[in-house]
Symmetry: C2
Subunit: 212 residues, 2 copies
């Protein structure tokens, strides 16, 4: 019973944010634990964490439960490892997208721009916010939010704010981001067009980010 063993992707990393779902394993080899994790994350992105059920997931992958319970001890274990995997991936994304640019203003703008048409990672986050009360999700969301707000706050400090003001402004800025995700999720209408979104984004930047 090797379930819950350290996830060493045996076949190939099959990194997140790529679209090789079925193609990766097209009848050829056997499945690994990370294959289940990635598929679970896709389901989370599409239908939320409550939709991560063992049997439907197995059907979706063209396989049976027998495989699952060899790799994992329980559904809870799958969720745990999937969330850990996602959190690592997100932390790496954060360093990449916000750690590169030297100008703090560009960093903040880049943060907002990454929201609209971002890949699987952000969709998962949006879906997880809907399950913020879930005992396994809550600590993950808290860490991710803290990490992101810390980065944002740092940018505001570099723009001349003192610690207290930067902290408040980071919380405010991140709330705007969360509120945007919420409106995005609940709106059935086509939401905002591209130009409307751009105009709104300009307004947000103008309101929240000091000129220099």
């Amino acid at each position: 019973m090797p379930y819950d063993s350290p996830t060493a992707n045996r076949i190939g990393s099959s990194d997140l944010d790529d679209t090789v779902s079925q193609a990766t394993r097209n009848k050829r080899t056997t499945l690994s634990a990370s294959d289940w994790e990635n598929e679970a994350l896709r389901v989370i992105a599409e239908k939320g964490i409550a939709a991560v059920a063992v049997e439907p997931l197995a059907r979706r992958m063209g396989i049976t439960k027998g495989s699952f319970y060899w790799h994992f001890s329980s559904r809870e274990s799958l969720l745990e490892q999937s969330l850990v995997s996602w959190e690592k991936h997100d932390a790496r994304n954060l360093s990449l997208s916000l750690g590169e640019l030297s100008c703090p203003r560009d960093r903040l703008i880049s943060f907002f721009r990454h929201v609209s048409r971002e890949g699987l990672t952000h969709q998962v986050y949006s879906a997880l916010t809907a399950s913020a009360d879930h005992p396994q999700v809550k600590p993950v969301l808290d860490r991710v939010a803290s990490r992101r707000m810390a980065h944002i706050g740092q940018a505001f400090r570099e723009l001349g704010m003192d610690d207290a003001e930067a902290g408040h402004h980071a919380r405010l800025t991140y709330s705007v981001y969360l509120g945007f995700l919420q409106l995005q999720r609940q709106s059935q209408a086509p939401a905002l067009s591209s130009q409307q979104f751009e105009a709104y984004l300009d307004h947000v930047i103008e309101t929240l980010i000091p000129e220099h």
Copy 2:
């Protein structure tokens, strides 16, 4: 089969936002449809819409399913009527808390102040945002959000903004509110103390609401 009949509270209005749950019906008379609706809304506030299940709800009320299926045709019907009832209640709250004050600035500040320690109605809203993808919840949330943003936008227009800017600023302001709710729901730590919250609120007001 009188289920789905117009909810005429036969016994007593048992209005929302009061705490007479068991006390209202302490062995005495029979239950009405609105009793089920109110209890459902309490469950939504506590554990979300997925926790609204017929049998657990009946157990919670010290009764059996037999009663429920006399008043309602299905679980779906209960949700529908509960949401309708809540939406009406919320619309009335909006007119009351934002329609009274003449000064638009005070109206906006009052809006934010009503968030922190508000009763059942706001808890329900916070819980519903977690189920924004639910087919019965989505249209309700859309209407409520539009209604509230319209009020906020009107206040900004009265403060001198043109239509486009007021619209954007209303969306931005409402996003801050939604983001606050989200952070509230997901934080396991004691969140913010009273003074921290006041300081943050001052910052929000200063940032979002023009001086005069």
